[in-house]
Symmetry: C2
Subunit: 117 residues, 2 copies
DNA sequence: TTGACATGCAGGTAAATACCTGCATATTGT
DNA sequence: ACAATATGCAGGTATTTACCTGCATGTCAA
């Protein structure tokens, strides 16, 4: 696979992660699993006041973004968080802007002053 | 203002930030500003292959999320990144899951082993 | 085995989203 | 002043999204 294709893939995954995190119900699901990892679908549903099927769809989106994985045990499905994509978001988005943080006000100041002498 | 209201407000802002970051065009806008802070609307448009008005709408969403601020200079509008909300996302979402990272595999293992003796 | 339980699958709808075009307004340089 | 430039505002549409209901399948326990 070429480098550009790899970059495209990374971009697609990143997009899935951001889209997955864009919904409050899905963020709540991650929160619930953070409190107690490995909960079943029904356990998660109890906190979400929406139909079970809706929750299932949200979970599918989180799973496609690789933010959680599931394991079947008999007739139930256990859900586990995967923190790796969140860390990737941090590396790509937070650290990058963090580094420039101190420089920003200076940029603004000099730019405005420079243009109107 | 009560504590619960403050929490609600924080939640709304958080939601705006995540929704703002959910679109690839908006993430690209932040990237462009990271390369060169203080660009005008037209400068930003040149990299986005969509109508100027669409870009304006994306910028409005980023601005509502407090991810960037604007300054008018004559007939142009300069755009500046604000990294603070991104850092808030980091504190709320990345660090939290980061801490549990090592515990997760252990949780999974013990849970599965415990239930099927 | 059979009834209760946990989840999967297939549509259907209302609201939100991401675009667009067309026209209006304000600023600058000649 | 006036033509070019930079941006603002008002709709309009196609797609996506977040829900739902109804029914099917698989698993456990008495």
């Amino acid at each position: 696979m070429k480098d550009e294709d790899l970059a495209k893939d990374a971009g697609k995954n990143e997009d899935k992660v951001f889209k997955a995190l864009a919904d409050p119900s899905r963020r709540k699901l991650l929160d619930l699993l953070c409190e107690e990892n490995g909960q079943t679908l029904n356990q998660l549903c109890e906190h979400l006041n929406m139909a079970r099927q809706s929750t299932t769809q949200h979970i599918a989106i989180l799973e496609a973004a690789n933010l959680l994985s599931t394991v079947r045990r008999g007739r139930e499905k256990l859900h586990f968080i995967n923190p790796v994509p969140l860390h990737a978001v941090y590396e790509r988005w937070v650290r990058k802007f963090e580094q420039q943080r101190l420089g920003l006000l200076h940029d603004l100041k000099t730019r405005l002053e420079g243009e109107e002498p």
